[in-house]
Symmetry: C2
Subunit: 339 residues, 2 copies
DNA sequence: TTGAAAGCGATACCAC
DNA sequence: GTGGTATCGCTTTCAA
């Protein structure tokens, strides 16, 4: 049995395709009699007719697709913050009548290839999540192929794209300010060796450095760590040689890993070294000492969806940065508030 | 400047649209002269031409789209196991020439609506991840609209769909067997109150029950818990009244939460109560006592992608269950192996 | 070696 | 109230 089309519905209902289109799109008021409308609906139902999105978008000139572009290989490292955002964002988009779809740009691909793949789908908008490959040429490709809104979620927006700042530097700055304010001067910043996280870790390190600029006697340096117990144990074993009195551990997971390894080596937290994570995970509060963490507040999905909708309808809005995330310290025991 | 089409490329190159199509699709060998080919390529490049996927799929009859359907509201609760799978799976699909795309079925939608939304895209295949709404009618809708392969990733496959078993019951059974084998007879099973997790938690509870069937003196009952410290504290406060000597805590995160609350209440783990989680997260090993966990082995992404490819090319393969996950206990200190 | 043209499915203007 | 038909962008057969 072939796939039902508007033609088969028309045939079964004994009307023309035009009539079918009017009825099924709710444009039949005053054009088509109630009886005919009913016939059409019954026929569509009976055949299990579902309109063909490709055909419609070909005709109408736009697809209603909003592509949420993510770098496939780093998604797992994003954690609940990211996943929650995406879930809510998709729901919001649907409310606006768009179809939100997650598209992973696979590792090996150049920004150029990725942009081409996205452009082929003629999306109304592309939201490049942080880490997704998006350069000036990509933006140009997308725009030329009719994408109304290109939004980069995370700094810095490529030339021509709108931006929603997710200020990783501020995360580092907040952590740094907290530690420096508590009197720490030799600060290590954990830099995960895991692929794809450099986009986050580099600005976070820079943020700590900028906070330290105000303290002439402060030293800030990177500390490599892999997300595995052995790596943490190794790092902890040589810890005292590093001469650090505080560490900003990239995020809560790395912080927990490191803190445990330090404790197992007999290094007191926070006595000998203060530890700060980021993301404010629930699990971090379960450790003893409780983990101090930088809580990151993202622009809410609803706001981003509204922005996207606006940009789609006003495609000529000049590219700017539209919102920004904020970061706050949640001071707990691991950074000195002795518990 | 309008979006470039194959017509504009043809015009610029001074050839026909047919020639453009041949050249750009690599079907020009022996049909089009090298000089002409070059002209076409240059023209396409200059205009920044990107083919229109909708038009192509309309003409060719199929879209190369593989829809990975997820229940938007529960994704956050899935954790790295799920996210890793999806990332790798998408990469695999791309290698086969498909475009893998994640589509969240928003909370309020009926299975019927969701299926319609998917069917409009005319995907070559739909992979319904566990928790995605997929019933017999949905499968029928998809099939009628030309989807070759409908695969349900998680039990039970809806009638008409292929299945890849992710046996949640076995997870419970393995946990149960471990605890029973260690002599525990009054076993609590944590059931998250969070929406959307019932799909997992119910069969896990059933699995523990079935393991307990072999022990006439064993008692198994559900214990409700929300993913928040207050909920855990509340549960811990009334814990002794429950008279349990072991608990299977749904997954590692809930296990960690509960274990901490129990310890804070002065209840010894594993002395007074044994705790078992699931998913074998790295973080679970950081607690003291180390968390015993059920490690779940999913069918590898490459295998699933190969299956999908086969089903797309042989659409008439009768629906069956194609692979299954396995579960193994990772016994650590929290369930009695005193550390 | 190249081009004309049919047709994929849906929409919406214009005529009846 | 209803239907004919041009059109969106692309592929592919057939003819030149």
């Amino acid at each position: 049995m072939p796939t039902p089309t508007s033609t088969s519905v028309a045939r079964l209902a004994g009307v023309s395709r035009a009539t079918v289109s009017y009825v099924l799109n709710g444009l039949a008021a005053g054009r088509v009699s109630d009886a005919t409308q009913e016939k059409v609906r019954v026929a569509a139902e009976e055949l299990g007719y579902v309109p063909h999105a490709a055909a419609r978008s070909l005709r109408s000139g736009s697809s209603g697709l909003v592509l949420i572009a993510v770098p496939a290989d780093t998604v797992p490292a994003f954690g609940p913050l990211f996943t929650n955002f995406v879930a809510a964002f998709q729901a919001e988009l649907q409310a606006y009548g768009y179809t939100g779809v997650l598209h992973g740009a696979s590792a090996g691909n150049t920004p150029r290839d990725a942009a081409r793949a996205w452009a082929e789908l003629r999306p109304a908008a592309v939201i490049a999540m942080i880490g997704a490959p998006l350069d000036e040429a990509s933006v140009e490709t997308l725009k030329r192929s009719g994408t109304s809104a290109v939004v980069s979620y995370g700094p810095p927006p490529a030339p021509g794209a709108h931006g929603i700042a997710m200020d990783q530097e501020e995360v580092g700055a907040v952590a740094g300010a907290h530690l420096l304010g508590a009197g720490h001067r030799r600060i290590g910043v954990v830099v995960p060796v895991e692929h794809g996280l450099a986009m986050f870790s580099a600005p976070r390190l820079a943020g700590v450095r900028s906070a330290a600029a105000a303290y002439p006697d402060a030293r800030v340096g990177p500390v490599e760590l892999a997300y595995a117990e052995e790596s943490a144990a190794e790092l902890a074993a040589g810890w005292r040689d590093l001469g650090l009195d505080a560490v900003f551990a990239y995020n809560d997971e790395y912080a927990m890993l490191l803190m445990r390894a330090l404790q197992d080596t007999g290094i007191d937290v926070p006595g000998e070294v203060a530890v700060v994570g980021a993301d404010d995970l629930l699990l971090g509060r379960l450790l003893r000492p409780r983990l101090t963490s930088v809580r990151i507040e993202l622009p809410p999905p609803a706001e981003v969806a509204a922005l996207v909708d606006r940009l789609i309808r006003e495609p000529d809005t000049p590219p700017t940065v539209h919102g920004r995330s904020t970061a706050h310290i949640e001071a707990r025991e691991s950074s000195g508030r002795q518990g």
